[in-house]
């Protein structure tokens, strides 16, 4: 009996002892919202900011295994840079440039193409000192300047005399374009003859030269002079939301003058304004170019209502104009295909920085069979550990139902350059996956990992943002997911290499409007090689 009691006591003692054999994990914090516990020290310490950045990325970033393949040791980054941020805390002054340089040292090895890292500089009072690793990488490319400076233009190709464009029954070139960018819509106000400021000046001259102006004419003249002063002041103001607010105030104030082109500019267009161009080029080649994937926001009133003031007639007019350009391309492609005369399709994504995934429905979704088009895999974080990942789940771009379109079997060319990114790259992948698809131009920028702008969606996958923009002293805009190609490779930061690589001859483009990249695409579609 004594022996058994001893055995039981021994076993109990052992159980107590073994419970201390396991070690406790470190306590982690979440940095997804403006939490005092997480961010308060960062208001007055660069070292605290760095710790949030380091931990937040450690927990949220989805590409750690990929970065490790490139030799990045994230723990070593902590050991190396924490003392340097602590040293900044001891400095009397820290300039924004110094802080940005430190952010560059820490984040430049990261391959995510969308990432934006922002620290507040409590020593200068600057709310946001930002560093973009993707931009830093892009700037180093030899084609950066050309890709950044030159936007696709149909100036040369839309002239019938140049023999590059098909004409309608009246002999007019089949070309349509529209812009809702601030440059596109407001440039006429400031720079176009007969419109905006130029029109105001003309009116002032006319009224000033009247021998006996009426009281009403005098009042109009004064209004015109006031408007001229306001517009000239605005012309020298950097474009911002404040600029747009003031511009719209002027539109309302001087509505009675009926100034051509002086119309309400929807503030939503400031972010989602796009250029769209359609041309039917020789050989029945349907060319479509757009500068951002925001078509959905123009086509669907439900989505548009989230971003734009759709009750304003000017907004509605521009939405319809964008839709008309796309519709012209879409119906032309469909009609020519049905007639058996479609020579090919060009989707020009040069300079297109991406946008809404739903836009895929209107672009590749109008060319491919119904049922969706798989284009890549997503891998989410599914744990707090650096390497806790989900299974790979297929990403699909929606495609139109069979009742709405016919599948396009003719050759399709997608064009990119070093500024084509995100949805532009996803679309490129989709086209490259098509049997009839070819990629022409320059290597894309390399930012395909998906992300969301909405902080409230953080808990969807427990990944995404660090901090809240304009609220927390650290803010990082980073992907919610790692995106893999269909052959299960990550190409983040590398971009997609074209099947046919061709440079844009900037001199020729500037002098004549002839576009060597577009010419190569046309040659391919016309000759098959």
């Amino acid at each position: 009996m004594k022996k058994h009691t001893l055995m039981i006591l021994g076993a109990m003692l052992l159980m107590i002892c073994v419970s201390s054999c396991r070690e406790e994990s470190d306590r982690l914090m979440t940095y997804d919202h403006n939490d005092v516990m997480a961010f308060n020290k960062a208001d007055s310490s660069f070292a605290a900011k760095f710790k949030i950045l380091w931990n937040g990325l450690n927990q949220n970033y989805a590409l750690w295994d990929y970065e490790a393949e490139y030799g990045l040791d994230w723990d070593a980054v902590y050991d190396e840079y924490l003392p340097q941020f602590e040293a900044l805390d001891k400095q009397e002054t820290v300039t924004d440039e110094e802080l940005r340089a430190m952010l560059a040292k820490v984040c430049s090895p990261l391959h995510d193409g969308h990432m934006a890292v922002a620290f507040s500089n409590h020593k200068t009072g600057t709310k946001e000192v930002m560093y973009l690793p993707g931009e830093d990488r892009a700037v180093k490319r030899d084609d950066y300047e050309i890709a950044n400076k030159y936007k696709p233009s149909l100036k040369y190709y839309s002239q019938v005399a140049n023999g590059e464009v098909e004409t309608d029954n009246q002999g007019n070139p089949v070309v349509m374009e529209h812009s809702t960018t601030i440059t596109g819509l407001l440039a006429p106000v400031f720079n176009e003859k007969g419109k905006g400021l130029d029109w105001v000046n003309t009116q002032i001259d006319q009224l000033s030269n009247l021998p006996n102006p009426s009281a009403a004419q005098m009042a109009t003249l004064q209004s015109l002079k006031d408007l001229k002063a306001e517009l000239e002041a605005l012309r020298n103001t950097p474009v911002s939301m404040n600029f747009i607010t003031r511009f719209n105030e002027l539109v309302t104030m001087y509505e009675s003058l009926h100034v051509p082109a002086l119309e309400y500019y929807d503030p939503g267009f400031f972010e989602k304004g796009i250029d769209v161009k359609f041309a039917l080029l020789k050989g029945n080649i349907a060319y479509f170019q757009f500068s951002g994937f925001y078509l959905t926001s123009y086509f669907s009133d439900e989505v548009a209502g989230l971003f734009y003031n759709i009750s304003n007639p000017a907004t509605k007019k521009h939405m319809n104009a964008i839709k008309e350009v796309w519709a012209a391309w879409f119906y032309t492609v469909q009609q020519l295909h049905k007639a058996g005369t479609l020579g090919g399709v060009i989707i020009d994504l040069r300079g297109n920085g991406g946008g809404m995934q739903n836009d895929g429905y209107f672009i590749t979704g109008s060319l491919l069979p119904e049922g969706g088009s798989p284009f890549s895999y997503s891998r989410f974080k599914r744990g707090t550990g650096r390497y806790d990942y989900s299974t790979l789940t297929l990403n699909y771009l929606e495609t139109m139902p069979a009742s709405a379109h016919e599948v396009i079997t003719e050759p399709v060319v997608v064009m990119t350059n070093g500024q084509s990114m995100s949805m532009a790259e996803i679309t490129t992948i989709v086209v490259k996956n098509m049997e009839n698809g070819t990629h022409i131009g320059k290597r894309s920028r390399g930012g395909i990992c998906g992300l969301t702008m909405d902080n409230s969606t953080y808990t969807n996958n427990y990944m995404g943002h660090i901090g809240e923009r304009d609220k927390t002293p650290v803010y990082v805009y980073l992907p919610s997911v790692a995106t893999f190609t269909l052959d299960k490779k990550i190409i983040e930061g590398e971009g997609i290499t074209p099947d046919i690589e061709v440079d844009l001859d900037a001199a020729t483009f500037t002098a004549t409007g002839k576009d060597t990249q577009l010419d190569r695409a046309l040659q391919f579609l016309r000759t098959g090689h």
């Binding site: 058994h4 076993a11 406790e24 994990s25 989900s390």
Partner: protein, 232 residues
């Protein structure tokens, strides 16, 4: 005085030697080998800190354990036992808010528990208690379940796939403590049946400490197993 002390020491030594000889004679007379097979079910609990992932749920799962066993009895109440078994240490992690995020992990381990086996009771029916340590090797991992893709209109993806080990993260070796209690019934002088509840308490994290932030994850596995032994 000194000679007395010497004599007493000599007597003590003689007594110790005689006691050892007697003990050895007894144990040799009672020493017996036994070998057997075991099999049963186990329930594994995966212990990890979910941290701020508040709706992240980790649940235990049932698995299988099969093995062979060998025991050398030193006395009628004490033996040394070693098993070699294949034991599954399964678990499930899922989300409360998004029920379609559901991972069922199946992990196969080859284990070698070495234990002191204490027995007590009658001739035919005896109780026993095992206490010891174990070492194990993570053979493979498999996962089955579903996940949702917020970038594909929340499409649900079902999967049933092998999990590739990631050297930087995964600790393939597992060591810990093992203890069990059971009953043995002597069917014949050479055959005995056993029923045992055994607990494997891992003291080795399944993840290497590859990050500056320490993250420990442990298996705790309780097996209910039956065995049949041949006694030489």
């Amino acid at each position: 005085m000194n000679s007395n002390k010497m004599k007493m020491k000599m007597k003590m030594k003689k007594k110790i030697v005689m006691a050892l000889v007697a003990f050895l004679m007894v144990t040799t007379a009672q020493a017996q080998w036994r070998i057997g097979v075991t099999g049963g079910a186990d329930y594994n609990v995966f212990n990890m800190d979910q941290q701020y992932m508040t709706d992240y749920k980790v649940d235990g799962r049932w698995g299988v354990t099969l093995g062979i066993t060998g025991q050398y009895n030193v006395t009628d109440w004490l033996g040394v036992r070693a098993d070699l078994n294949w034991t599954q240490k399964n678990y499930r992690h899922s989300r409360v808010v998004y029920s379609d995020v559901d991972y069922k992990l199946t992990n196969d381990y080859l284990q070698l528990p070495v234990m002191a086996s204490f027995s007590f009771g009658g001739e035919r029916l005896r109780g026993f208690c095992n206490l010891g340590v174990y070492g194990a090797y993570w053979l493979n991992s498999h996962r089955k379940g579903s996940d949702r893709n917020s970038f594909a209109n929340y499409r649900i993806t079902s999967f049933d796939e092998k999990v590739d080990f990631y050297d930087k993260r995964d600790q393939r070796w597992d060591c810990g403590l093992v203890g069990g209690v059971g009953l043995e019934y002597l069917i014949t002088p050479h055959w005995a049946a056993q029923a045992e509840v055994r607990h494997y308490y891992s003291t080795t994290s399944t993840t290497k400490q590859y990050m500056r932030n320490k993250d420990y994850r442990y298996h705790s596995t309780t097996a209910i197993q039956l065995g049949i032994n041949y006694i030489f």
